[in-house]
Subunit: 345 residues, 2 copies
DNA sequence: TTGTAAGCGTTATCAG
DNA sequence: CTGATAACGCTTACAA
């Protein structure tokens, strides 16, 4: 019986104890918590006070076993390229935990087994053990293995990033196109006529959207857009070399928009290497508004993602499915905000 | 009864179904999973195969209710200063999830309610609902409110960072002193005689250790150490100004060690602003080895934290307590590795 | 409105 | 080594 003892030692108050202390039955306490309108106000007050006094909370395992609801959302942490990690992972997670908490949900982190790239076994395990009510996926591609898998398994999910046309449109994303159009507009308003775009590794849908959004608006405004040639992500220096080439010659761009703050750092270096000054000779704009921006000199203008709104949207989308409601048939596209700093004014 | 139906829809295989399919009783299946040595090998094989085939995993809620073990560790996400976020949050979390997973544990993220600074109510809630077996705390100070609180509540915990002498020594930390001694040694070996240290906001114990470790070893090696005056964290530019002052005059340091990679960025800027070149006129060393290092020009020498080992140590420490074993009476101090790049050679 | 009884899926106890 | 029975703490019909 040392087992029951150790459990008791954790100070776990049970519903039974609350009931006894309040002079009512177990079920009345349960009702007071889950269906207060079923309890006479005066009884409710007494029970609530007792709950408060004893610091009682229902045991989540017992509750889950009975109701089937885990009150927990799983977040599949992407396996990052250490060279180019998701710069928002930490901030997004914090926003997600807050948004989930506002709906009474916890966030459970999980990852593929180390050394494994395929996340599907990890997903299956989590679902088989019934530890979550739904899943949040980040960095979702149009054609994503994870999405296909969770759709097949039937678990509620919500994606940060867009799913393909064949999949349920359970996603939230920022409007990359509009954000970069705003960047182009900002640069035009500052008087720039020749602008550059640095997007890094091709193929990522959000990067493609940023490029297109920038080019289209720049065209509309009569700006000339230049892009460097191949620009690998990660390997140091070659990105800089490509941007330097862009900055040579008489008709060099007077402003460069980058697809991420890290890429903007490369642009800073290229500008310096060409003997020019960021913010005076060449304006630079980044993307993500990481803490980095304020540590660069001059401070970097960047596009800020509405992380709390994104997280709230994902949680709402997820809980709608958990409750069996029909989620909206299309994704949620949120605006991102341009934060202007000295690098572009 | 639509409730039972929806739960069933999730495809949850029960132990009962496995037992039927394998032609044994429930308990035999349970034994096969939890105490294989109690089951005759041939039966075990049959049961295991059936478990595999049906993708069965015990329902974690039921299991927790019965055994008291949640198989889940709580991670209290620090409320970051957006100006100076913990640069390792993402990487540390990934390591923690991996380390926990290796021991069959999940990681549950939680935070104080938004707008609240005091993490204690959030801790109490999590414990009252019995959702975790133990807690991981990060960025722990010698005299930490959170530590005092969890000690009082009696829940197993492990701290990244050091706890005060009055608290249980359930912590893992890097050897900041030795790491910075290694930095001083490295700079001395490169022929530097006058070196600087930039530590940012005073008062943080790890920063104090870094400073002391650096100064002590520099002294021992006969180096002259200079430090800037007040150097606020966050507010842009003033840190740079302080470092610039340090770099003026004939006996300027030829190398500067920074207490973080972000501070090293300020040093880069100060060096440039003084018309000098990083890596040639002034060597620079950072701390944390964030992805930033490889995006700076020249690439930044930095101190890499052994995140997987730290995470593994924390999990081991935590599980020892959960199992009722006596944890070691002192903390675990792990070495950090100096990664030399072009900024200091 | 309250109390009674049942059962969620699992593991531990104890008899075979 | 295997099979019946009880219990973990809770919620939800159902009857009072």
């Amino acid at each position: 019986m040392s087992e029951g003892l150790s459990r008791r030692r954790r100070g776990a108050t049970t519903i039974e104890e609350v009931a006894r202390a309040a002079g009512v039955s177990r079920q009345t306490v349960s009702n007071a918590i889950n269906a207060p309108q079923k309890v006479r106000p005066e009884t409710l007050a007494r029970v609530t006070a007792t709950v408060e006094r004893l610091g009682y909370q229902p045991d989540q395992s017992a509750r889950s076993l009975r109701t089937g609801a885990r009150r927990t959302l799983g977040y599949l942490a992407p396996v990052d390229d250490p060279f180019d990690p998701n710069p928002l992972m930490a901030g997004f997670l914090e926003a997600l935990v807050d948004a989930a908490g506002a709906e009474g949900q916890r966030v459970l982190l999980f990852r593929p087994a180390p050394g494994t790239a395929d996340p599907r076994p990890a997903i299956d395990e989590l679902l088989a053990a019934r530890q979550v009510d739904g899943l949040v996926l980040a960095d979702v591609l149009r054609d994503d293995l994870r999405v296909a898998h969770v759709v097949r398994s039937g678990v509620p999910f919500a994606a940060f990033g867009r799913t393909g046309a064949g999949s349920p449109q359970h996603w939230v994303d920022i409007d990359n196109t509009a954000a970069m159009a705003a960047v182009a507009g900002h640069l035009a308003a500052q008087g720039h006529r020749r602008v550059g775009f640095v997007g890094g590794a091709a193929g990522l849908p959000w990067m493609a959207d940023r490029r297109e959004g920038f080019r289209a608006e720049a065209d509309r405004l009569g700006l000339t857009v230049a892009e460097p040639g191949e620009l690998g992500t990660g390997a140091q220096g070659d990105g800089v070399a490509a941007v330097r080439a862009l900055l040579r010659g008489a008709d060099r761009p007077t402003a460069v928009a980058a697809g991420s703050d890290l890429l903007a750092m490369d642009v800073y270096e290229a500008v310096r290497a060409e003997g020019l000054t960021v913010g005076r000779d060449v304006a630079v704009v980044g993307f993500h508004d990481t803490p980095l921006c304020r540590h660069l000199h001059p401070a970097l203008t960047s596009v800020r993602l509405p992380l709390p709104a994104i997280a709230a949207g994902l949680v709402r989308l997820l809980l709608a499915q958990v409750r069996g409601e029909q989620p909206p048939g299309k994704g949620l596209e949120l605006p991102a905000e341009l934060v202007v700093r000295d690098s572009s004014r």
